[in-house]
Structure formats: C-alpha cells, structure tokens
C-alpha cells in the first residue's frame, strides 16, 4: 500500500511519517509512506492508494480531491488530535480504512 501525506512544506507531516512507518513495521503491514509539499503532490501520484491531508492545510482539500479522486485515490484529512499527538498507528489505521472502502 502506498500512502502520501500532504502539508505545506512536507516538514511537519514528515515527522508523522516516521511514526507511521514504525507502526506499520509493528503491524507487519507492507506500506510505503511519504510526505510531500502540496505543490509537489502532482509529481508523486504514481501507484498511490491514499492521500492524507494535514489539518493545517485542510482548505486545500477540494483542490486535492479534484486532482486525485479521478485517479481512484482515496483522500481524507488527518484526524486533528491524532496528528497533534503524532499517533502514527491511528493515522495508519485511518489510511487502511480508507483504502479498504473501495
């Protein structure tokens, strides 16, 4: 499964990515997780299953949805508290649930 996290510069979500990677190792889930800046998103959409949006750029949701949903990519805003506490496992669960919802 390929997951991409989007925020403004890809900085704060990259912290969360590390936690999610650890959580996926623990759960033995084969997941490729990356963080990108919103402006770079278009170049990183190959084979992506889920795009998760940082809550601080939730105003970009509409534009991002328009971009990724025609490609069959699931998209959602990261739960605010899970994001704040950097709960990698919870956000990973959120991504998995989204992907299964096909």
């Amino acid at each position: 499964m390929k997951i991409i996290l989007v925020c403004s510069a890809g900085m704060s979500t990259s912290m969360l990515v590390d936690k999610m990677k650890k959580a996926s190792e623990k759960k033995v889930i084969d997941a490729e997780i990356n963080a990108v800046a919103e402006s770079e998103l278009q170049n990183h959409l190959d084979d992506v299953d889920v795009v998760l949006i940082g809550p601080q750029v939730r105003y970009l949701e509409k534009g991002i949805r328009e971009k990724v949903e025609p490609l069959g990519i699931k998209c959602d805003i990261i739960d605010q508290l899970a994001y704040g506490m950097m709960k990698g496992d919870q956000v990973l669960d959120q991504a998995i649930k989204l992907a299964k919802y096909k």
């Binding site: 925020c7 403004s8 510069a9 900085m11 704060s12 912290m15 800046a37 402006s39 278009q42 940082g54 809550p55 601080q56 750029v57 939730r58 105003y59 970009l60 509409k62 534009g63 605010q80 508290l81 994001y83 704040g84 506490m85 950097m86």
Partner: protein, 429 residues
Amino acid sequence: MNNKLMQKFIEFAGKIGSQRHLVAIRDGFVAIMPLVIIGSLAILINNFPPFGKFNFVEWMSAIFGDGNWQQVGGSIWNGTFAVLGLLASFTISYNLAKSYNVDRLAASLISSASYIMLVPVTDDFGLNMNWLGTQGLFVGIIIALLTTELFRVFVNTPKLIIKMPEGVPSGVTKSFRALIPTMIILIIVGLFQASLAVLADTSIFEVIFTAIQKPIQGLSNSLPAALVVALLNHILWFFGLHGTNIIGSIIEPIYIPLVEENLSLFQSGISAYDVPNIVTKPFLDSFVFMGGSGTTIALLIAIFIVIRKQKNHPYREVAKVSTPGSLFNINEPVIFGLPIVLNPIMLIPFVLVPVTLTIITYVALYIGLVPRTVALLPWTTPPILSGYLVTGGSWRGIALQLFNLAVAIVIYIPFVLAGVKASKQRMEE
C-alpha cells in the same frame, strides 16, 4: 463565538490560501528560496564580524589578498539575490502554468523573455541590474501572471496552433505548438515597451516601482504593519489554518525586498546597526516566530515548568512529542495536540505573545540596542543560532531572543495553569 461568522472566515481564508495566482506566487518564492538564502549567506561570510580575537575577514584577506576572496561570495550574490525579480518571474510563471496544466517551460521562458524586454538598457548597452533584482520584483510578478494567462488562453485556441501532418514525431509537434502564442505575446510586450519609451520616456519598472512597490514597502516597514501581520497569522493558526502559508503570497514579495536592501548595504560596508529597514522577513522569523508561530517553544518550556510532578499529564505528553520539531520552528504537534486550535484559554497568550514580542523587537532595533537584520536564513534555523546570524553575527541578537523567550514564558505560565485547572475539572465531572 458566532459559528456562522467563523465558518465564513475559515472559508474565506481557505479561498485565499488556495487561490491559483496567489499559490503560484507563493510556490514561486518557495522555489527560489534556496538561491536567495545562499546569496544571503555569501554576504554574511564576506562581512563576518570578528569573533573575539579571531577576525575571519582579516585572516582571509591576509592569505588571499584584500577583496580577492570576497569575489566568490560577491558573484554568488550577483547570480542569486541580486536577480531575484528575474528569477521570481520565471518560477511564478512556471507554477501558474503547472496549475493550468499547460507547457510550463514554454510559459516561464516567455515570462523571462518579456522581463528582459522591458528592463531599461544602460547607455553602454547593459542591463540595469537594479531592475533585475528586488526593485523589479512587483513588475516580475505582474509579467509572470499576465504572460502566463495570455499563453494559457492562446495555446487553448485551436486556430493559433500550427497543425502538423500525421506521422510527424510528437516532440516536433510540441515544439511548434507554442510558437504562434509565444510570438503574439512577445509582440504585445514589445509594442507596450516601445510605446512607453517613445511616448512617456520611461519604463514600466520605474513606473510600478515608484507608484506601487516603494509606497507599499515604506508602509510595511512600520510597527503597525508588523502587528497586523503577526495578528493575522496567529488568528488563522487559531482556526487551525496554516497562517504563514495563507498570507505568504502577500508577505514575501513585500518583506523580502526590505531585507535585500539591508543586505546590499551591509555588503557595501555599512554596519548592521545603520541599515534602514527594521521589519523584514527575518525580523518575524527569528525574533517573533521562535519555535514556530505563537513562539510555542516558550509554551513548551512553560508547560515543563508548571507540570513537574505529573509525568504523564496530557500537556506534558504533548510538550514532549512537540519538542524536537519545535527546535526547528515546526510546531503543528503542539498547535493541534494541545490543542491551541479553537481553545479559548490558549487564544489569548497565543496572540498576545507574538504581538508583545513584535513590539519589543521593534523598539530594540529602532533605538539601536540590537543590530537590524542583515541575513535571510531557512525558516527552520533553530533560535539562538538564528538570532546570532540574522544580526550579522551579534551576541545582542541572541540576547534579544533570550529576553523575548523569557517574556513569552512569563505570559504563557498563567494560561497553562488555567488550562491544567480546567482539564482537571473536566476529569472530575
């Protein structure tokens, strides 16, 4: 708080934050930032102040000869910060074309060509460097937006596209696709330049700079403007919206030229105390947004001071998670985790701290207690280091940061206490 009004505000902020042209401007600046920062550091090294007995500049000059070694940094400056207007015109056009999904390279080349066409030529047929840099920034932005809009319209007009017979390689077709639109745009720009030069004996650069850019910059280099920026940024963050990102497209074109002016004077040997502009991008980044918007690094320290015994208190947990990022001014964890977002207790200090620090910093720089900002750093540069570097290597910069931090901690403490009390009451209920 009125919910409907709040929703309207969030929607409005969101629209600005995702408005195509503003996003293109912002991303254009993001793209050139590395070059600009390298140019800024080159100047800082060329003019580095003595470090106790060790004088770097004299030492280098003794080895390589006075002025010789500084040519390296000088030419780096010339190719980066000194041509900011030209660079921005390219990158903004590139990003706007990208958002329209038209040929980005063609669009940004047209933008650059138009820029050069409009720059006044010197008597000995040289380009006037003043207009390639920050003085030409506003024109550069306008050129990028207008030419790219025209390009988008023209390439989507079938009549203007040269059709190739079947079997012609697609690369060839593509190279001809932009030909007629490019020609039309450059002719329009050329006619515009010529009529302005012949009829009014001036250039668009001079007109826009004196009529728009200079007055706006003058206005922005003031305490009220700095307060408006700080206030707006933090109100947006309070609603959980990326404040710096949303207003960045408006802030950067104004506050980067102000630090550029300081920098180029610093380069010519003027002391950091005597450069003209007080409010600049590094002013805000290094002295107000320490640890991220809201000077939240002070909030973390306040939490560690207030909650010492209860090791697993939720506030302490958030503070622990947030500390590594905060050292590099990344503070989303504390903003969303504590949370500060829509938290009425935290609203007051979250806005009050940056406003207070803006005033303190302005006064300290205004009366000359601390040197003004003469370097542009990555916004992720940790506090203390940033205070030293942006003031051109002055201990007073660090002292001001420490003082600001202390003030911020003092403001945050009572609100942390109130927050702890409120959460305890909630637990008991």
